[in-house]
Symmetry: C2
Subunit: 339 residues, 2 copies
């Protein structure tokens, strides 16, 4: 087998020069570097990365698996890499594009000691396919999953959404449109249950045309604005499953000559950057803490430590898009007795 | 050396069952999977990924290197993975956190045939350290770099920024504040040259207090809003190096009781999603095409094809934050003769 000594001989440089070229640490002249790389090429020499990592037993790198760049990847990822950095871990993001083999390849990186642990934002394989890889390193997700081997930082959307709806009700809104995510998603199912319970509780029948299902995500806020614009019987408030779609809705309504909240109130979800910038009232369901807790779990497993997880909470963030409707409230004084 | 046949024997399953477990393709019962994984563990068997990839000579995966999650990573990444997907390539994002060794590890993945090519958004090592790795696969960046071995999809910010300033001038603005990025950045230097040339051309002296350098990026738009608010001698227009900082500025001014553009005109840069949502007039300097062209270069190198690169252009996107100042224009009628 070719060794670093053979490379040094062939390149006519010292062993430590070869080391510096391989590690990328320390100064090497342009000329020596060229000689070393040519020698490595000529001898087909590959430094054994796996062996290098096995020496320390860890790579200090966490894999982050996602299908693609979809909202709210940004907030989640930013929180995850920021806490990872605090504990001296690196993050490598594998975009699987929903490909099962690609996902397995990434999970296998734990086996080959190229990753210490893995976080799964969106998965391609079934959980029972993924589960056995926890033999090789800790796996965490933010999905709702009932497993002893995969950690979940799941937060139930039911209570958060019910809080939004009750808030709209308390502020005087009675005709509420709902924009929901992918209908196969458990969060969407939780939201539909919240809508049902809310309507039963308040005795307001739901209008089918006020239920929007977002399949595309991208630009969907704009499409919903056009649909709302054309509706004969407009809702006076809209509740969104995610801030970015609410933002697109508001922006496009403004292009169509409407004002928010004068023409329609809007409540978002996520408390993401865009909601702050556009003054959108929203719900903070600890998305950042879900990212942080997932990392903390992986970290604790790897280091046999017990750093405490952060408490999860669902909080309503009042901004400017749901003003109090005094008139409506006076009219319905008898029925508005909600927390 | 342990082979797949040894694993099958130990696990008492067929060779093809072991294959299916390793590849993640096809059905395997929970029980068999467990047996196979235990056998692999007992025999310390690692399927040779590198050998697997060498068969086809490619991994169909491009590495994307970035220091961290900073603006405009989002737009860039989204365009890059979207065109990669169109050509059946995967993307793996290495967050290097500025660590030189980590970056070299990622570049080495080309050598070990784990990556086909690499795109560099933000680098840790000097270009002369990175350059030799182009022996192992194509490397592209959007930075300005003069190299025969690394492709650059660089666009000069000088002309884009000069266009912003002339546009503000033509619309009647004479006291213009400038928010610039990191002063070591070549783009910032190009902008400062544009400011100098503009002021000489229009004969407007620059006020030092109207030059803002953004070092933190995050939340900086807010800080600049507070500074502007406290200024005795306020500029009547603000030109920003990036839309996200312009958005933070506008949002915080609104919190302080100002209106944009009534109190101050704003022009951004990037034509990113946030500028569209908040109706910010901005400059499109083909950031998406920079991402696309970088991918096309890598793709063409790998496949010996010649898919055409997209033409780069700098375009002013008129929205609502730079209204025409009729009065000012009439007053200065003689001096406003710009393209």
């Amino acid at each position: 087998m070719t060794t670093i000594i053979d490379v040094a001989k062939q390149a006519q440089v010292s062993k430590s020069t070869v080391s510096r070229v391989i590690s990328g640490n320390g100064y090497v002249s342009q000329e020596s570097r060229k000689k070393v790389l040519e020698a490595m090429e000529a001898l087909s020499y590959s430094p054994n990365l796996i062996a290098r990592n096995l020496q320390s037993g860890e790579t200090k790198t966490i894999g982050f698996l996602a299908q693609g760049f979809i909202d709210p990847l940004g907030i989640f990822l930013e929180s995850f890499i920021s806490i990872a950095k605090r504990y001296n871990y690196y993050v490598t993001l594998y975009f699987t594009d929903g490909d099962k083999k690609k996902e397995i390849d990434a999970l296998n990186q734990m086996k080959y000691k190229q990753l210490d642990g893995v976080f799964i934002l969106t998965r391609a394989n079934k959980w029972e396919i993924i589960e056995p890889y926890s033999l090789y390193g800790p796996i965490a997700t933010w999905h709702r999953i009932d497993s002893e081997r995969i950690y979940s930082s799941y937060v139930d959307h039911y209570s958060g959404y019910l809080r939004s709806l009750n808030y709209l009700y308390d502020r005087g809104y009675r005709s509420i449109g709902h924009v929901l995510g992918n209908s196969e998603n458990l969060n969407t199912k939780a939201r539909i249950k919240a809508i049902d319970d809310f309507q039963q509780d308040k005795n307001i029948p739901i209008k089918e045309e006020w239920l929007f299902h977002d399949r595309a995500r991208l630009d969907n806020g704009r499409n919903i604005a056009h649909t709302w614009h054309k509706m004969a019987n407009k809702s006076d408030a809209m509740a969104f499953y995610t801030d970015s779609v609410a933002a697109g809705f508001i922006s496009e309504l403004q292009n169509l000559g409407y004002s928010v909240p004068e023409d329609v109130a809007v409540i978002g979800f996520d408390n993401s950057e865009i909601s702050r910038l556009m003054h959108i009232t929203t719900v903070d369901y600890s998305i950042k803490r879900q990212a942080q807790n997932s990392f903390i779990y992986i970290h604790n497993q790897l280091n046999r430590e017990t750093i405490a997880e952060q408490e999860m909470s669902v909080q309503l963030i009042e901004r400017k898009t749901v003003p109090l409707r005094k008139k409506e409230l006076d009219k319905n004084a008898s029925s508005s007795e909600n927390n």
